[in-house]
């Protein structure tokens, strides 16, 4: 098996290929930025990011801010929000909206196949954020969507990073979605800035650990 997916500059050990993690915490505590940083695999890896609540241009700015270079040769965005953004550097594929889970899933698997034929055998997949999907659809449908996507990520030995803000959902919603994932990374606003801890993942920090959500690579 190939090496795990590594995370430069974050207090996380590499994660085994085929794994999806739920990254849960408030947006303001840097959880979203953490998810974006985890999706940056450098030049040798491809990334597919599903953006559900911010248009691709905005996502690109946020990525830039955390030092994630959105190179269209290796980064694609499935945009459930905006009109087509012509001035975004990344490969942008529009979907009608966050309720069209079927359309999102199909575009995702198409992009994943494209990267494979471009020669990338390592792909990181992100959903920012799962919260939007839940607020636009029935939990049962979102659960099927996440289960199917996590299954796809597993079959291509990829990495899945699913961001959710638990403050806007019932605990049972978050737990149900977490059960499809190999593990969970929780984020909170600590006394000295954002902190993370891992659940269900081997060799990851189990105690609250500080991280810098913005630092450049």
């Amino acid at each position: 098996m190939s090496d795990g997916y590594a995370f430069d500059g974050l207090p996380l050990e590499a994660i085994r290929p085929g794994t999806s993690v739920l990254v849960s915490g408030p947006t303001h505590a840097g959880t979203r930025n953490l998810a974006l940083r985890m999706l940056d695999g450098g030049d040798a890896e491809a990334s597919i990011i599903v953006t559900t609540n911010q248009r691709a241009a905005r996502l690109a700015e946020d990525c830039e801010r955390v030092g994630f270079d959105i190179d269209p040769g290796r980064v694609a965005v499935v945009d459930c929000v905006g009109e087509e953004d012509e001035d975004v550097a990344a490969r942008v594929v529009p979907v009608s909206g966050p309720a069209d889970l079927t359309g999102i899933g199909m575009r995702y698997s198409k992009l994943s196949r494209e990267f494979k034929s471009d020669g990338f055998d390592r792909v990181r997949t992100g959903v920012v954020s799962v919260s939007t999907l839940v607020s636009f659809g029935e939990l049962r449908s979102v659960a099927r969507f996440i289960h199917t996507m996590v299954g796809h990520i597993n079959s291509i030995d990829g990495l899945g990073v699913l961001f959710i803000d638990p403050s806007t959902h019932d605990e049972r919603t978050v737990n149900t979605l977490a059960q499809f994932c190999g593990g969970r990374i929780e984020v909170r606003d600590g006394e000295n800035g954002p902190e993370l801890r891992a659940r269900g993942l081997a060799d990851q920090p189990r105690e609250w650990t500080s991280f810098d959500p913005t630092s450049e690579r």
């Binding site: 009608s96 359309g103 899933g105 698997s109 659960a143 597993n154």
Partner: protein, 294 residues
């Protein structure tokens, strides 16, 4: 069984041949209506369909399948470009997608079918980690005897009286549905697994209590439980001696209510009693070489 739907007879034959070579049983047809008929009469695990059908689209077909047999793994295997397909109407259906024009498309299809079936990755609910072992255990306890039903009828009647509520049931959780062996106070036969609360109960070791299902995002979406008079739920997993949760002893009521620690203990005892019945009958069947009701 894999249902393949493609109006192009040659393409359909090639798809079925590729799947048959990989050891799958297939059945093929060329239209939406024929596919729906098939689904009515045949137990299908996986659907592989083109998008353009003479009397509709593959997406419509997948939408129908999600209503009737929601766990079926659905794969859109198509020549139609994504941009042309209308998915907004069936946005909640969710399916795998594989373009048919790729040179090795059919071997990719075989891989996708295998993966989807092994990991059951299109279910709308979490599947227990040891699902295969769990189903194998369940098969050992298969027993459609009247004697077992009568014994569970007594247990559920006692349970409803003990807790003073409307309904008590014993259900077994099969691969895609819950089968109610006994149901005191309601008329339940089977329920799709994704619609049953018990699907979640077998994931936990302890008793699951939902004081008011209207507050639970997993079950309140369609108002179906509310319509069936289920507001309160408590369920204890029925666990085999080797640790497999094969079913649930559960209680419902049409009013929200509390459930004490002692109540949980008692419900757990009832689940253990149900398991003992299953276990003793299994041993009896083994000892008598599978003789029917004793």
């Amino acid at each position: 069984m894999i249902l393949c739907v493609d109006p192009d007879a040659d393409a359909l034959a090639a798809t079925e041949a590729a799947l048959a070579d990989a050891g799958f049983d297939t059945v093929g047809c060329g239209s939406l209506s024929a596919a729906l008929e098939r689904l009515d009469s045949t137990m299908v695990d996986c659907l592989v369909t083109e998008y353009e059908l003479p009397d509709g689209t593959g997406m419509e077909l997948i939408g129908e399948v999600r209503e009737t047999t929601p766990d079926v793994a659905c794969i859109l295997f198509t020549d139609t470009p994504i941009e042309v397909m209308d998915t907004t109407a069936v946005g909640a259906a969710v399916a795998e997608y594989l373009p048919k024009e790729a040179p090795d498309a059919r071997s990719e299809l075989v891989e996708l079918v295998e993966h989807s079936l092994v990991f059951r990755s299109q279910t709308a609910y979490p599947v227990p980690e040891n699902e295969d072992a769990r189903l194998a255990a369940l098969a050992r306890y298969a027993d459609d005897s009247e004697a077992l039903k009568a014994s569970f009828d007594r247990l559920t009647e006692l349970a409803a009286a003990l807790f003073d509520l409307n309904t008590a049931t014993v259900g077994l959780i099969h691969a895609h549905e819950e089968e109610f062996i006994a149901c005191h106070g309601a008329d339940l036969d089977t329920l799709d697994r994704e619609k049953s609360i018990c699907t979640y109960t077998i994931l936990e070791e302890e008793v699951t209590v939902i004081p008011d299902v209207r507050d639970d995002p997993r079950f309140n979406a369609d108002g179906r439980l509310e319509a069936a008079g289920i507001r309160f739920y408590a369920g204890a997993p029925v666990v085999t001696p080797d640790g497999q949760a094969i079913g649930v002893f559960c209680l419902h009521d049409d009013e929200s209510r509390s459930f004490s620690t002692r109540d949980r203990e008692l419900l757990k005892l009832l689940a253990e009693e149900a398991m003992e019945q299953l276990e003793l009958r299994r041993q009896l069947r083994e000892a008598t070489g599978g003789a029917p009701d004793v």
